[in-house]
């Protein structure tokens, strides 16, 4: 269903592209088009990426980018509400959309000859969205139901939401992509209209097409359908750079649950916030791989198997967030162990990284996985297009995907230790603990149980 892109608390997301040509075009109205050929099957994916997401929002209207994403299916002058999805469905298309902190994207995967169907509809709703109030009043209720499902009734998501709101002081990453419930309740159709006017224009969008297509033909089609759209004056978002954290922060979140849960996050730079040519974000990616790049990585080997302290535990870092981010550790202690004990064990893992160089064998394993991942990723045209879309939309460009592999491969054990020493420090740390309240008041949860994150 159309929704939020799930935040991945897991192994680092390795990015990759094959050697097949990528073609890049810019229309006169500022729209960027990128075409990636993949001729394995007679299909193509078309994705439209807008530079807007929850990190562009200000307090009081949180969640508006995601609500607008929902409203993008509610009709234009030419195509009334619901028709977009019906036409795509009649053409055999799979479609959806997703909103994150840094982008909003819409996609259709179709048999390759249907690309014009997708372009016609996407071009139309890029500038001509109707935004009828009666549709908005229903759809915002749908979004509230989505929020109840994803967050209100999910104790781990609830904990993560409060964790972010604590970790960041200035950064717009402090608010949830889906928005605070109170903000959703006070949104109105005029807010939506203003947001649409502000961000939806060809000069704030990138179209990515991957599949069994001819780049020149796609370019011609793009000119035909998107070429006449008027650009608009796009004001870049205010920087809202996070202030320097001055000491660790800690919260408890109490909610009906069976199992406790721990999240730890350290403020870390990303490719965009680091100085040019910096190796640090790549070293942090490798560090995440050393901790959690599979079942032979340190967290599973030491904490799930060795000491059997955790039933699940993970580490994650995304070098391609638009703004400074968090290096995350999270997990659930196993039965008979406390959250405090798990936290100490995770801190011991950090200490080990700051004291001892990672072995060549571990580094080789991480790099072997990156190399293989680069091949495996090509099995999905959707994923290939998505990587290009993310790079372009956060403010880098698709060539960064190739730099990514080169730079990861060049990371040394000394660099991994250096970023651990510099960034994984108490001053930069925020800790959140989920404390379970009874689900059934007659049967309080047993203390210190263990859980599996499915």
């Amino acid at each position: 269903m159309r929704g939020l892109l799930a935040l991945v608390l897991g192994a680092f997301a390795s990015a990759a592209l094959a050697d097949l040509a990528i073609h890049e075009y810019r229309l006169d109205n500022g729209l960027k088009l990128i075409v990636k050929e993949d001729h394995r099957a007679p299909v193509a994916v078309s994705q439209v990426w807008y530079k807007v997401g929850s990190s562009y929002e200000h307090d009081g209207i949180t969640g508006i980018s995601h609500v607008l994403e929902h409203m993008m299916f509610k009709g234009t002058q030419k195509h009334p509400a619901g028709e977009f999805s019906r036409i795509i469905a009649e053409n055999g298309g799979e479609e959806n959309a997703f909103t994150s902190q840094d982008y909003t994207a819409y996609f259709q995967t179709m048999e390759k000859s249907r690309l014009p169907v997708s372009f016609e509809l996407e071009a139309d709703r890029m500038r001509n969205l109707a935004l009828p109030e009666e549709e908005f009043l229903k759809e915002v209720q749908v979004v509230m139901e989505e929020r109840r499902m994803r967050t209100e009734d999910n104790p781990q998501s609830l904990t993560y939401e409060h964790f972010n709101a604590t970790a960041y002081t200035v950064s717009p990453y402090r608010t949830p992509v889906i928005g605070w419930m109170d903000d959703l309740e006070s949104l109105d159709i005029d807010d939506l209209k203003a947001w649409y006017q502000q961000w939806y224009a060809p000069n704030n969008a990138t179209v990515v097409v991957a599949g069994d297509v001819d780049p020149a033909e796609v370019h011609a089609l793009a000119k035909q359908y998107f070429g006449a759209l008027e650009p608009s004056g796009i004001e870049p978002a205010k920087p809202r750079r996070e202030v320097e954290q001055r000491g660790s922060k800690r919260i408890e979140v109490k909610a009906p649950a069976e199992l406790p849960y721990l999240i730890m996050g350290y403020k870390t730079p990303v490719v965009l916030s680091a100085p040019a040519q910096s190796w640090e974000p790549y070293a942090l990616e490798v560090l995440a791989g050393v901790l959690d790049g599979g079942s032979s990585a340190r967290l599973e080997t030491d904490l799930v198997r060795g000491q059997a302290l955790a039933t699940s535990v993970s580490a994650g870092y995304d070098a391609y967030d638009r703004l400074q981010t968090l290096f995350l550790l999270s997990g659930t202690p196993s039965s008979g162990n406390s959250v405090a004990k798990l936290e100490n064990a995770l801190r011991a893992q950090i200490d080990r990284l700051t004291e001892t160089l990672v072995s060549e064998q571990e580094l080789d394993r991480v790099k072997a996985q990156i190399r293989a991942g680069k091949v495996y990723e090509q099995d999905s045209i959707f994923y290939q297009a998505m990587q290009i879309g993310i790079m372009e939309t956060v403010g880098l460009d698709w060539k960064e995907l190739e730099r990514y592999h080169r730079n990861l491969n060049a990371v040394t054990p000394e660099q991994v230790r250096a970023v651990a020493r510099k960034y994984l420090t108490d001053e930069r740390l925020t800790v959140a603990e989920l404390i379970p309240l009874p689900i059934d008041p007659n049967h309080p949860p047993t203390s210190g149980g263990g859980g599996d994150v499915h």
């Binding site: 195509h79 999805s85 048999e111 499902m149 990585a297």
Partner: protein
């Protein structure tokens, strides 16, 4: 608007006429010890996907709930004298990925590897050990058992999972499909390495296996890989046929209180088998009713017209025996009776009247035109091969799929739904906060 619509309609027609659907060419054979193999050559990327599927899912648990899943989870935790660390390292240092899983019908073990021989050879050998020489070490058993118990505890904080478990329990009664693959606390606590070993020896055997290979290997290489893996298993015997699923003779309402802001509602009854004679009318009919996302009737009525839920749907899970037919949604507690009434009315109307000609045509266009996407990657082809092999579907299943969809008539759908879908004999499960009225009344 009219002009634009006509343009699109025209394109649709030319598109359909012009499409030559490249279907994967499936080669199939049986290994010496009796495992069926399905192979598709995919030379475009230097990688291979290998999957062994066994009739060893939770339907084989009997009175040992969770044993199928725990057995499956233990395979790569110790084999041929290698411990879990060595096994994990062995795959990952070559960039190979081992996967496993088990549901009610199937249990599987999979390997994805690059195809250069320095990587594929050692990964295959390690995979063979995991598959054919698992040790079920005591300490690893105890740990995984604890993790499974923790998983059961975790499920209790998820209203959707609570609802799903209650739904299967009430729908299938005494049938093996009633149990949950994750078992129960009592059953899981009672398992032992010895019991797992016995389960493994009975069900992880060549005659009970299907081998799927998709990737950049020749037919001869595929033959060697399949033999090397499957013929290192015992020949054994195919699993015994499962009992038939009885139809329900009365409806049943179940309410489970949970401190959630939403109620999760599931309604349904026994659905269809993989080889069901009504498969295509039920499949296409449900596509229209609740199986095609936002454009389906249920989603239109509950979400689009009334804003009552984020997700509202219906689907069949075709299995060896009749799997469930499930209709469901989640909504704020105080709206659940209203939404449930809409769901029931939508279902009732569809059973009585069937689809409109326009709906049927739209559904066929969607399924037929969208078909190339179903086989557009190695992963997707592997999944289809597993289904074709496991359920013994004909090898031209994919080739014939669209023509069989095209042949379905509105009358066949109405007839099949009237015979097979019985709202008055359905289970309705509601999990959510307390509201004065009971479920579904």
């Amino acid at each position: 608007m009219t002009r634009m619509l006509r343009g699109i309609a025209l394109l649709l027609c030319t598109g359909l006429a012009g499409v030559v659907q490249a279907m994967p060419d499936i080669q199939s054979w049986t290994t010496d010890k009796g495992a069926r193999v399905l192979f598709v050559a995919a030379p475009e990327l230097p990688m291979v996907d290998i999957r062994l599927v066994f009739d060893a899912g939770a339907a084989r648990d009997n009175d040992q709930g969770g044993i199928a899943r725990l057995t499956n989870a233990l395979l790569d935790q110790g084999a041929a004298g290698l411990d879990a660390d060595a096994i994990a390292r062995g795959f990952e240092q070559r960039g190979a990925i081992i996967g496993n899983g088990s549901e009610r019908d199937m249990a599987w073990l999979s390997l994805r590897s690059l195809t250069d021989s320095e990587r594929l050879e050692p990964s295959l050998e390690l995979f063979r050990k995991v598959l054919t020489k698992p040790d079920f070490p005591k300490a690893d058993f105890a740990r995984e058992q604890q993790r499974m118990l923790a998983g059961l505890q975790f499920e209790k904080q998820q209203p959707g999972t609570i609802a799903s478990k209650a739904f299967y329990r009430n729908l299938f009664g005494e049938h093996p499909y009633a149990g949950n693959p994750s078992g129960t606390e009592t059953d899981v606590a009672a398992l032992s390495p010895k019991a797992l070993r016995a389960f493994y020896q009975r069900y992880y055997v060549a005659r009970n296996a299907v081998v799927v290979i998709v990737g950049d290997v020749s037919a001869e290489q595929a033959r060697n890989i399949a033999s090397r893996l499957a013929d290192s298993l015992n020949a054994g015997e195919k699993a015994e046929p499962l009992p038939q699923v009885d139809s329900m003779d009365a409806g049943r309402d179940v309410f489970i209180e949970h401190p959630s802001t939403q109620s999760h509602v599931l309604m349904g009854g026994p659905g269809m088998r993989r080889e069901d004679p009504d498969y295509f009318p039920l499949y296409v009919g449900n596509h229209i009713l609740g199986g095609s996302g936002l454009v389906s009737r249920i989603s239109d009525e509950i979400r689009e017209k009334r804003g009552l839920a984020y997700s509202a749907y219906s689907y069949f899970i075709p299995m060896q025996r009749k799997g469930p037919y499930t209709l469901g949604f989640q909504t704020r507690n105080d709206q659940r009776d209203q939404a449930l009434a809409v769901l029931r009315e939508t279902l009732q109307t569809f059973i009585e009247k069937g689809p409109t000609p326009a709906e049927l045509e739209a559904a066929k266009n969607n399924i037929v035109a969208g078909f190339p996407m179903r086989v557009a990657s190695n992963s997707k082809i592997s999944e289809y091969l597993a289904v074709i092999g496991f359920y013994d579907l004909p090898l031209d299943y994919l080739q014939r799929f669209t023509e069989r969809v095209e042949a379905v008539t509105a009358e066949q759908i109405r007839d099949a739904f009237q015979r097979r879908v019985r709202p008055e004999h359905m289970v309705t499960v509601v999990v959510g906060g307390p509201v004065a009225t009971a479920a579904g009344s």
